[in-house]
Symmetry: C2
Subunit: 213 residues, 2 copies
Amino acid sequence: MVAPLTGGAGTDRTRVRRLPDLAVHDRQSLHAVLDAGRVGHLAIVDQDQPYALPVAYARDGERVLVHGSTGSRLFRHLAAGAPACLTVTLLDGLVLARSAFESSMNYRCAMVLGRLVTLDGAEKLTALERLSEHLLPGRWAQIRPPSAKELAATLVLALPLDECSLKISAGPPDDPEDDLDLPVWAGVVPVVEAYGTPQPDPRLRHQLPAPEW
Amino acid sequence: MVAPLTGGAGTDRTRVRRLPDLAVHDRQSLHAVLDAGRVGHLAIVDQDQPYALPVAYARDGERVLVHGSTGSRLFRHLAAGAPACLTVTLLDGLVLARSAFESSMNYRCAMVLGRLVTLDGAEKLTALERLSEHLLPGRWAQIRPPSAKELAATLVLALPLDECSLKISAGPPDDPEDDLDLPVWAGVVPVVEAYGTPQPDPRLRHQLPAPEW
């Protein structure tokens, strides 16, 4: 069946138990996966109910930066140091095997466990610039920086890359020898992310080129 | 700043607090978002530590199906009825505003809270077919069905669409009037998912066409 994408390695809490051969342990690879993503999912608990909260993020050295509204209950919990898990999953391809059981996906999945810390003052503004430059490269120098009021309405949090795991599934299907004669196409259908044609704001007042990414 | 993607609506636990105007309440839209996705993130708690676990999923009427290995600690917790949250986030575009604060993303985010139930017997096999057909359309009739041993190694779980929320962010940036004269391009850069050229398994023994999706 299409395999679930799961992560885990490092401490006992993050050691890869499922398909441990997919575990990757070098930090360079961890950084590369985090840098390739834009949206992660933060797991947090509120009154015994877990939530998976999508967040835009950026890696900043050995930590990941996220931000949210001071009006967000879950973000206030995160800011208060509640235990959290940030998972970034990149889908690379559909793995078409000759059996349902071996059919799966190729993916890269980084998981970071820990507690987030709140950034303030100059560090807060620098972190917002880092977030913006990761998500919208080159924009920070062009756009209006946040006002004091906007900054006050924003929580900027950092999650250190202390307790992490990285799991990468790649390559062709892993069919057992007995299935190789089955008369069905097998291989990988890559899944790629691309940019569409930029859609100018109807209220655009200047003849300016859209960014070329 | 690039807005965090958050969901919530329905019960008090899922009512949209942040940007409630983005909340969508019809089930047809909820189904459409779930049907457009392949990978969701399941939040689950283990010994006070939340985890966000990426999972392949499929919608089956008014429930979502997932599956995992009986060897997965977190999947066994899910099967035991631990409270969970499945979040499916589809990134549609980067919203380039004239200020950092208004810069954001267009997205569709479905969140489902609840406890998963284990499927067995004929229902389990039907659910695996549904998962396969959602993720790899047309393959089920061609590939080898799961053996008894493979079925025994697989947990198939269903999460009812009882407590759900849907949040959709779309359209151009929402810059305040005062920012409209700033000399910077503004608009939306769509983010689209596409298939790359199918990569045949090096061990492919038959001249067969790759699926055309």
